[in-house]
Every structure is written in C-alpha cells, then in structure tokens.
C-alpha cells in the first residue's frame, strides 16, 4: 500500500471500481482482543492464498497473559499473514494493511514497530460512539495519533454491518473480516467459501451457512466501502503442498521417522508439538508420555531407547537445563535419543513465548565432562519435519543423543511446503531380537570412526550392563586411565566421522566479497531476503546458513578467508559494540555462534544480534548489511 491511497471520509471509503494494483508481496494483520477469532480468520486467509499458489507465512500474535483485559495496549491477539508471488520465508517487516477490532491493541503493535507510514488501518468504529465517555475519548485520541504517525485509517462500522446476519455479531465478525480481505486481495470467493465450509463442517450445516454469509457480506462490504484492491499474482503450485507450523512439522516428523515414543513435560513453546502428537501419534501406533517432570521425561525416553526403540523428548530452555545430566549419560553410554529443543527467550524463565537462539552453547557444552553429541538446527518449517526424520537416523547410526534446535518463530509460524512423501525406510527397522554374537562386545568400537552396533534387550548373547561410569568395550566399570581415555576418544571420533560426511555450506551469492553473513536456524528466510536485496543493490555481500553446529560443517575457514568481514546474525545476546565498558572490542561478549566459529576458524567473526524476543526482520538485517558494506568500501577507498 503506498501513501496515495486515501480514505474518502472519516467513517468509510466510498465504493469505486478501481483496478487492483499488482504487488509481489503484502503483509496483512488482523488484531483484536483475544477470543475474537482473528487467528482463525487469518489462518483461513493464509490457506486460501496457499491454495491459489501464493507463497504464505502466517504467524500468531500472542498476548502475554492467558486472558488479558479487553481493549488493552499489551493485549493484542491476532495474526500476521504475509503473502507473495514467490515463496515467503519469514514474517517480513512492517505490515501493509491491518484490520483492527479495537484501537487500543494497535498501540502495542506500533511500539513493536509493526507498522509504517502508509500502512492502511481498517478500524472498527463502534468505539467512537460507545456509551462510556472515556472509551469514546480514547478512541478519538487514538485515531488522531494514528494519523499523525502516518497510518491511513479507515473507520468502518464492522460490527454494525454484521448485525443483520448474526444475532451476536461479535461471533462471526472474524469471517466478515475474512470476506473483506478476500475482496481486497482478490481471493477467489468460491475457494474462500469452500475453505469456510471445511473449517466449520464439524459444527453443522447451519453454522457453515451463517459463516458463509458472513464472508460474503464482508466481501460486499469491502467492495462498497474500501478503495483498496491489490492483486498478488500466483502460479498454481506444480506439486502437492502441505501447510502447517513448525511444531506440527516436528510432530509429523516424529511420526514419519518411525519413532514410537515421545516423553515430554509441558513447556512453552514446545508443548504444542506434543498436543498435536497426543491427538495424532496413536494413529500410527505411537504414544505420548506426559512425565512428572523433564528429568523423568528424558529418563523414560532413554529407557525406551535402551530397550530398542529410539525415542524422542521435546522441550525448551529450562527443560533442557534439567535434562543435561541425562544427556551426559546418553553420550557416555551411547544411547540413541532424539531431543528437540524449541528455543525461547532466556535466561531463566525469561520470555517464555518469544523467540531466541540461546540454547546453542548450552546444548553443546551443558553436560559435565567431555560430551560430544550431534547438535543441528532446522532453518525452515519444512526442515522441522525432515530433520526429525534425519535425527532418528543419526541417533541410531552414531549411537547417541542428537539435539535438534528449533525455536518459537518456527514453532508458531505457518508456511506451505511440498508434501513430504514418506518412505518405509524412514521408519526405524522393526526390532531384531535374533541372537547376538557373544564375541562382539557391547561397545565394539571401530577404531577409526568410534561406531559400534548395539545389543538390544531380548537379544540372547548380548547381555550387558549399561553404565554411566567409565567403562571398557565390555561395558565393565573401569577406573584406570587408559579405559577412560579410550572411551572418550571413541565417542569423540563419532563426531569426526559425521563431520567427514558433511559438505561445506552453500554460499548464497559470490564466493568472495566484502561481507559474509553467517546464520543458523529460523533466521534463514529473513537473512536470505536481506542479502538478496543488498546484492541486488550492488553490495558485495554473501551469506551461508549452518545446519550442523556440532560437529560444525567443514570448509568454514576457507570460505571466511574470501571475505573482508564475517558477521554472525543471530537472535541471542552480544554486547553492543559501542558501549563504554567494552571500548576494547576484544573484550566484547559475542553471540553464541560467533564464539564457536572464532574458536574453530580463528577468524575475527563479528556479531550482530539482539534479544528482543522477536524474529529478525529482513529490513533490519538489510540496513545492517548496507551499513557494513558501505563502511568496508569506505575503508577500501581510504587505503587506496
């Protein structure tokens, strides 16, 4: 939406048949008090768009409390939908258009930088005539403030317009909004109605009918009252697509991996993966065990894994902290295990619903002693699915725990991706309880790779006693220097063996230049978008995005050597470079990946990071890239 769109009057824009403007992407929000159905409307809007072949990313806007007071500044509940002609990989920068069911909830969003001058606001106007004095006053004040900020406000009688159709217009208003958006963004109305049918089918024909009517009414209303009309061209996808959030993808990944047990203890933002599984896992014969705490959850999973069926436990930061002792046992005794960590804001209880990438170093270094384990991370929702499948395989092949890092941004974001075609060989092989060769010790370490097959209870001849004490190949407790050294070495070699099978990361852009951006995890989409833009503007920037953090992917030092500066972009803490106590930059505390990379490559890797609890925006990253490449160019011209 650009500034030229003008509302015709204070109450509503007039109907006119302006031709839709073509745009290649748009960001739309619906915000309201919680319980007003904004999220359902937005999800349906996203689904329709996906069906039309648009790229889509939706992300819920979640208030801090379960039921915040109505019309409160911090109480915004809702959804952001970003759609585009091509694939959409992140939530983007400021919104182009927002539908708001009251004015107060917009304040919190404004504070978080969700809007820009020119953002169109379609605002419920009933508060302007509210019987309560201060409500009317607040409304009027707010509208003035919004306009001062450059927002393009349409005051619209939304609830009023619904009244004819629904006896209680508050229910169903969300579908009216869906109708409006369908008109504004030129969605296929039939498709929209069919989608509504799907959503409400279970509630009976009457409910379906009412909601269809609401959609139609909203569509009409927008046609008549809103002079905004945008076309986002799309090509019908050439393959079957699924759409889901990252936690559902993790859950489906568990199911597709052939794991049969997930043991968990509720913790935000990981829990919804277990909610999904609790409903669906039994369909493929799996179980979700809600344990009494995180320690018991991992203990249960480890017990199940020991008994032959690699199991999974899903948690977030505080839960990870509690599991570190057991992770150490799984490393020491080489028990396959999949541990999914859905990262949230820390330290401590921190920002439970917000995103951070703060578990990288705790995951790698959290357990006592030397604790080599595989740690990798998903960068997209699609990877949330596939990497769980991979994690089980790695856990079994490398006989130990595998930590898969995702985060709150992936967990709550929704995006279409090609429907995975599950394969039988993704499933764990059925238990093989045939006799074990008695001459093969339980830890028959290959001297080069450290790998060994493991006996499963039920295999005659394989009887051994697993222990977390230092032990020999026979799993006999051994306190002598050599056994302990050997065991540590064998476990360490497994990481080396995996590393040797990894390829260096792909470089986005030229393999040499001024600036190399290094990222990991959910920031992929935002970084890619920022880098592409900067590249298009002529800046000599490239990026790589790591999946494997332990072992680190190979070839990094070689890649880094071709750039003047390497900077990690991540969502975790680093000291601001300019603060007084850190005037000597060599004492600055850097972000987590930067620490790993400096240690490994001895390159002076820099950090650009924050702990705002928000997904990074492509615009912010772009600006930082430009600032840096410009400075680097400046340096060059100085020395030239």
């Amino acid at each position: 939406m650009d500034g030229s769109v003008k509302p015709a009057s204070k109450t509503a824009g007039p109907a006119h048949a302006s031709a839709p403007r073509k745009m290649d992407q748009q960001i739309v929000e619906i915000v309201s008090d919680s319980g007003e159905g904004a999220q359902k409307a937005g999800q349906t809007f996203g689904a329709i768009s996906a069906k039309m072949g648009n790229g889509v990313w939706t992300v819920e806007i979640i208030p801090a409390e379960i039921k915040p007071p109505a019309r409160s500044r911090a109480g915004a509940s809702g959804i952001r939908i970003r759609l585009g002609t091509g694939p959409i990989t992140n939530m983007g920068d400021e919104a182009d258009l927002v539908v708001a069911l009251n004015e107060q909830v917009l304040f919190g969003r404004i504070e978080q930088g969700a809007y820009k001058p020119g953002t169109v606001v379609l605002l419920e106007n009933k508060w302007g005539t509210d019987p309560v004095d201060h409500v009317r006053a607040e409304y009027a004040e707010a509208v003035t403030e919004f306009r001062t900020k450059g927002l393009v406000v349409y005051e619209l009688p939304l609830e009023e317009a619904c009244r004819g159709i629904m006896p209680n217009p508050r229910l169903g208003k969300n579908m009216f909004v869906l109708g409006m958006l369908s008109r504004i963004y030129q969605r296929d109305l039939e498709l929209a109605l069919a989608e509504v049918e799907l959503v409400f089918k279970r509630k009976g024909a009457e409910v379906v009918q009412k909601n269809r009517e609401m959609v139609e009414a909203g569509y009409r209303f927008a046609t008549e009252n809103v002079d905004v009309c945008v076309e986002i061209p799309a090509a019908a996808p050439d393959q079957a697509m699924v759409v889901m959030n990252g936690n559902q993808a993790v859950g489906l990944g568990v199911m597709a991996s052939g794991m049969e047990t997930v043991a968990m203890y509720p913790i935000t933002p990981a829990t919804s993966a277990s909610h999904y599984l609790a409903g669906s896992f039994p369909k493929v014969g799996g179980i979700v065990h809600q344990a009494e705490d995180e320690i018991a959850a991992i203990g249960f999973a480890i017990g199940a894994s020991y008994a032959g069926k690699t199991a999974c436990t899903i948690t977030s930061g505080p839960g990870l902290a509690l599991k570190t002792e057991f992770i150490g046992l799984a490393v020491m005794a080489e028990i396959p295990l999949v541990l999914v960590v859905v990262q949230r804001g820390g330290p401590s209880t921190g920002l439970p619903t917000k995103v951070e990438q703060g578990e990288l170093l705790p995951a790698i270094f959290g357990s006592p002693g030397d604790d080599p384990k595989i740690v990798f991370s998903a960068a997209t929702i699609e990877e949330c699915f596939h990497f769980v499948v991979l994690a089980r395989k790695l856990a079994e092949e490398f006989r130990g725990p595998v930590v898969l890092l995702t985060d709150a941004n992936l967990a709550t974001g929704v995006q279409p991706f090609p429907r995975p075609e599950p394969r039988e060989d993704w499933l764990a092989a059925p238990l093989d309880l045939s006799a074990w060769n008695e001459d093969t010790p339980p830890y028959d370490w290959d001297p080069v790779t450290g790998l060994s097959p493991r006996p499963i209870p039920g295999q005659a001849g394989g009887e051994y006693v697993l222990t977390g004490l230092a032990h020999t190949r026979q799993s006999k407790v051994a306190y002598d220097p050599f056994s302990n050294q050997l065991g540590c070495e064998m476990r360490s070699r497994k990481l080396a063996a995996l590393r040797r099978s990894l390829k260096p990361p792909a470089i986005r852009g030229n393999p040499e230049g001024d600036l190399l951006v290094v990222g990991w995890g959910s920031t992929l989409g935002a970084i890619d978008e920022a880098v592409d833009r900067a590249q298009a503007e002529g800046h000599a920037v490239s990026s790589i995005h790591l999946r494997f953090l332990a072992p680190l992917e190979p070839g990094l030092a070689e890649i880094f050597a071709k750039f003047k500066q390497v900077v990690c972009v991540e969502i975790n803490y680093s000291d601001p470079p300019d603060a007084a106590p850190f005037q000597d930059p060599s004492y600055r505390r850097l972000s987590q990946l930067a620490k790993l990379l400096r240690n490994r490559t001895l390159v002076d890797v820099d950090s650009w990071s924050n702990v705002h609890g928000q997904p990074l925006r492509p615009g912010q990253i772009h600006d930082e890239i430009v600032r840096r490449t410009t400075a680097l160019q400046g340096e060059k011209s100085c020395t030239n």
């Binding site: 699924v242 014969g285 320690i295 008994a307 995975p420 209870p457 039920g458 006693v465 977390g468």
Partner: protein, 317 residues
C-alpha cells in the same frame, strides 16, 4: 511355593536355565552386606521362573544397592542417581516381553528420586521395585538418609539426626493407584525370596521395602530384629506372602492381615515394634499404564504408512 533347597532343578519343571545363567561375576559389596542376599534371591527367582536371561532387565540408580545390575548376567541399566524409576518405566513402555527389576537405595528412591517414586506408583507399570533400605547413604560413605533413624550420627549429622525418618511403606500407601506394597528383610532368605517372588508375580508395580544391613555404616541397626525374631511381626493371610513352614518356625510372632484392606495396612504401617513384614497391600484391579503404552505396538508397517499418509493429507493446502 518352592523350597529353598540348593538344587531347584529337582522341582518338577524341566529347566533350561541354571543359576549361573543369571550370575554376573563376583559382587563387590562389603563382606556381610545385605545386598548380596537380595541378589541371590532375585537370581533364584529368575531361575525358578525360567526367565530367559536376555528378557530380564535390571535397572538401578546410583548407590551401593544400585550396583545390583552389574552382578546379574542379564541386561542391565546402571543409570543416574535417583532416576531408576523413569528409566525402568521407559524400558517397559513398549516391551511387554521384558521382565524389569528395579534396584534402588533409600537415598536413590526416597530422597533425590522421591518425585519419581510417587509417580511410578501412580503409573503402576508392570515392574518389580526393590527398595534396599539400609537407612544410610552407603556409597558416598555415611551421610544421613531420609529413612535414617532419629539419633543416628552420620557424617552430615555428627550430633545425631533429629527429624523422624520417612516411612516408605506409609508414604507409598498414601500414593494413588498403589497396587502392591510389601516389606521384608535381607537376613531371612525364605521370607525375602517369597516376598520378591510374590512381587514378581503381581501384575502392576510391586513395591518391596527390604530392610538391608550395611555392616560398614549402620552396623547393629537391625541387630535386635535379627537376634530376636519376636521383634518382627510376620503378616499372614491366604492372599499374603506364601507361608513356608520354615518361616513360621523363625517368626513365631504372626498376625493375620488381609492385603486387600488398605486402611488396616496404613495402621499396620505405623507400627515398628514388632515390625510387620509381609504383604501390606495388593490390588490387581488398579489401572496399569502398560495397557496404554502398549497400544499400537502391533500395528503393521503398511498400516502405519497408510495412517501417516492420511495424516499428511490433512495438511494439504
């Protein structure tokens, strides 16, 4: 009940496994340690029941008692301090064919593992839990345990303990879904064996507190009980622990207790002189968590693949 003669093979059922099949090398407990008697009893039960050694899993935490798995020639899991029960439940979860025995100490179970204890009782999985109660921390060299008696001097309470000891039987009887609670002593192989055998036969979680001698750190603790068997009240009942006549000759002090009577069990649990041994409570009608965890176990791969594809289709755009 079998008699505890040395050669059980004579007892009628043809045997494939001998005691040796369950013996995992020389146990390294102190001379006179009660743990050994329990080990022997379990090995005999395995032999009596002809449990395939590869189907037996001994799970433990950390402590002297938790060395138990190392001395079995079966599968074993010597895990973390306090965490035997969650691991054991996990082992059992999808492996109904396995026989799971848990060895846990009073510190392991009642102190650091207390939260798991409550919940394992509630899950009521089909496993046998042996609480080796020597009323002391043995492995770490004489610190107070929650079950240590008042007045005992330990390395952490050199002036003597002043809080009353936790009563593992009473506590367990207060947990929901409790299905089998018994008490026995390490120094009477007959009663020990009979109790553990009954525990093993029970469907559901059987919890057995074993008064276990630690000559190194709590010598004399059970001296009186041992020397004067009238200080022990042997519980008898047709549904109780089987009454080998030899037992009756040792424990002349006997009382009938119906193990289905929870209230009576709780009152009995208060009693320390004479100290009741035998079956306090049993209820085989309690829901068993295995019935849930075993769901879907037999689902064929094709059905899984089909269900998975259906599930994925739910997310089609």
């Amino acid at each position: 009940m079998h008699e505890l003669n040395e050669d059980w093979e004579a007892n009628g059922h043809p045997s494939h496994h001998t005691l040796e099949d369950y013996e995992g090398g020389v146990a390294r407990w102190c001379p006179g340690c009660g743990d050994l008697a329990v080990l022997t009893a379990v090995q005999r039960i395995c032999r009596d029941e002809q449990l395939p050694p590869e189907k037996v899993v001994a799970v433990s935490g950390i402590g002297c008692a938790s060395r138990f798995p190392h001395y079995m020639a079966t599968y074993g899991f010597h895990g973390l301090h306090g965490r035997a029960l969650p691991v054991a439940c996990g082992v059992k979860a999808r492996r109904p064919d396995l026989d799971v025995w848990v060895a846990t100490g009073d510190g392991d179970c009642c102190s650091i593992g207390a939260g798991h204890w409550i919940h394992a009782i509630r899950y009521n999985m089909n496993i046998t839990v042996m609480l080796f109660d020597n009323q002391i921390y043995g492995l770490t060299k004489k610190q107070s345990s929650p079950t240590s008696p008042i007045g005992l001097t330990t390395n952490t309470h050199p002036e003597g303990i002043f809080l009353p000891p936790l009563n593992p039987i009473q506590a367990t009887l207060g947990f929901t879904n409790v299905s089998f609670v018994a008490q026995t002593v390490d120094w009477n192989p007959l009663h020990l064996h009979a109790t553990l055998a009954a525990a093993h036969r029970h469907r559901g979680l059987s919890f057995v507190r074993i008064l276990q001698r630690c000559p190194t750190y709590t010598a004399n603790l059970y001296d009186e009980l041992q020397k004067d068997p009238t200080k022990v009240l042997m519980l008898t009942h047709e549904n109780g622990i089987g009454g080998d006549p030899a037992l009756g000759r040792v424990f002349t002090n006997q009382g009938v207790h119906d193990p289905s009577d929870l209230r009576a069990a709780r009152i009995l649990a208060e009693q320390i002189d004479p100290l009741p041994i035998g079956l306090f409570f049993q209820d085989e009608s309690c829901p068993i968590y295995d019935d849930f965890t075993n769901e879907g176990l037999a689902m064929p791969i094709e059905a899984r693949m089909e269900a998975l594809n259906r599930e994925l289709d739910r997310f089609l755009v």
